[in-house]
């Protein structure tokens, strides 16, 4: 695990910002906007899993989608193997598209209901002209086997499969182009708990076998702890804490992380009895009009004047332990 963290940087996100304008229409001035992602920076090392956690609406999915240019970034850079992907022309971008893939959240929405499973997986091969004819068929069968599905089902339609099976099909599709990095956008949150474990274990096996790098977006803290080498915690479009998963769970430094972790139930009645929950006051501020300075200050138990005036930077406060808080 620690070896993976030390390896070369494969993907680097720097100051990524994504704002969505609200006032649309012919005569809109476009002044109000949703601040979905506000300057997110992190690095992905080859072969590691970086967990990206945060509550609903904090911008983690938007960050993932902006990284692979499903949305155009408002500003910032995403460097893949040293090159900014936002500067690439269409031809070079195709190369990046086959290297960075995505697994989606909803296995019911992520497969085209009008295409057979074979065509869904084969589409990736067709677009990148990787295989045709018998080779294409063999490759599809091989991929289905890789994700633990029966190759005979290649000519079935998605609605004939269960949620877990559909998610496997989605994974097979993303593997078809031999990616190096996979952005997993809450790949397990729509599944039953028993199926979640199967999918997570399969993702881990695939990572080992194929040398994949994951950006694992999720809100289930215990599952993220299980799969991630490092974890980044997001709040309102900013990363507030980034460190190795053992460090994060052992010594959380940011008050938001502390509150989050205190909410995890512990499967041991004696310890659970003594668990102290930190209950945050208020609700998440609107991303349309976020507070000045530290975004968390409106709910933070330690907030002082400086928090309203200065945006805390993400600084290293221990070895490889980054926190964005004036008092950490």
């Amino acid at each position: 695990m620690s070896a993976a963290v030390k390896s070369e940087i494969i993907l680097e996100v720097e100051n990524l910002v994504k704002h969505f304008p609200i006032d649309k229409g012919l005569f809109a001035k476009g002044e109000r906007k949703v601040h979905a992602v506000n300057g997110v920076s992190f690095q992905l090392h080859r072969g590691e899993t970086l967990g990206l956690v945060g509550e609903s609406g904090c911008g983690k999915s938007t960050a993932g989608r902006t990284i692979i240019r499903l949305y155009d970034a408002t500003s910032g850079q995403v460097r893949y193997k040293g090159k900014n992907v936002y500067d690439l022309n269409a031809k070079d971008m195709m190369g990046v598209r086959s290297d960075i893939q995505m697994i989606f959240q909803d296995p019911y929405a992520s497969l085209n209901p009008r295409m057979t499973v074979g065509d869904i997986i084969g589409e990736a091969l067709d677009i990148h002209r990787l295989a045709s004819g018998q080779k294409r068929t063999d490759r599809i069968y091989g991929l289905l086997e890789t994700v633990g599905l029966n190759p005979e089902h290649a000519n079935r339609f998605p609605h004939e499969f269960s949620g877990g099976q559909r998610q496997r099909i989605g994974i097979a599709r993303s593997l078809a182009v031999d990616p190096k990095v996979i952005i997993c956008d809450e790949p397990i949150s729509a599944l039953d708990v028993s199926i979640q474990a199967q999918i997570v274990n399969m993702l881990e096996d695939l990572q080992e076998k194929l040398g994949l790098t994951y950006l694992f977006i999720a809100h289930d803290l215990s599952m993220v702890k299980h799969i991630s080498h490092r974890i980044a915690v997001m709040y309102l479009g900013r990363i507030v804490e980034l460190t190795s998963s053992s460090d994060l769970y052992g010594h959380p430094l940011h008050p938001y992380t502390q509150a989050l972790l205190s909410a995890i139930p512990i499967p041991d009645p004696d310890v659970e009895m003594k668990r102290q929950r930190i209950v945050l006051q208020g609700t998440v501020p609107s991303p349309i009009d976020p507070p000045s300075g530290c975004y968390f200050r409106t709910r933070c138990p330690h907030a002082e004047d400086i928090c309203a005036q200065k945006v805390p930077e993400l600084l290293e406060r221990g070895s490889e332990h980054f926190v964005a808080c004036h008092f950490a």
């Binding site: 649309k24 692979i68 598209r97 995505m102 929405a109 009008r114 589409e123 633990g148 499969f161 599709r173």
Partner: protein
Amino acid sequence: MSLPVDAFTPLQHELKAEVINRPSTTLWQDAWRRFKLNPLAMGGLVVLSAIVLFALFGPFFSHFDYKTNDLESVNLFPNWVHPFGTDELGRDILTRVMFGARISLAIGFGSVLINLTIGIFYGGISGYLGGRVDNVMQRIIDIIFSVPDLLYVILLMVVLGSGLGNIFIVLGIANWVPMARIVRGQILSLREQEFVLAARTLGASTKRILMKHLLPNSVGQIIVVAALQIPAAIFMEAFLSFIGLGVQPPLVSLGSMAASGRLNIPSYPHSLLFPAGMIAVLMLAFNFVGDGLRDAFDPKMRK
């Protein structure tokens, strides 16, 4: 009581891929299965097929021509030689109804084909591009929509002149607006679906996304709208012919037959009754089939 650990042996775990037993069904088969369960729709389909056969092949079995006058047998009531009787110029009404139905069907399908082409193109572009382009395109549609279609259908017919070809064009132009709206709505909601995002992540071209992902998934809705627009087009043609702007003699349409029959209602009601009855049956059958299709393609009706 405590259970000794040795008493347990781990279950032999075979992780075999599961097998699906249900036979493979496409969405078409599913829709057809639901359609079959709807007696009204099936009745409509049977009647419709009968009318299509009647219109296509009926004239081959008829001894009469739709346009040759026979002044010795004018205004005959239904009899064995002329089952529907004859009109004021001695033409066999049964044969004329067959030809009229031909024209009606051709106009129904033909004009819908035209508005499908325009509607899918316009709605598809508007929905997929979105943003400002969509906004402008939708305002244009609003303007067209705000003019009563009867008004500009009549105006267009007057400008272009009556005739079969022009009816196709005018009805096609008149009906594409609702089609474009439906297509746009479908594309707009499908565009943000994750399977489209997945295709974009793979680098699929715009053409591929439209042709392989967006349109095939809107096809159910498109068929339903088209099926309900066919009777509307048939009725519009009958109306145009009725007021004398449609098909010109010697060509015959159900509407123009009804118009000439109307003059003789008191003495020879059959010359109005049969063409008007045909219009009614045709419309009813199409509407039942259209409603049946809507229920069959609507996933919320799935049992």
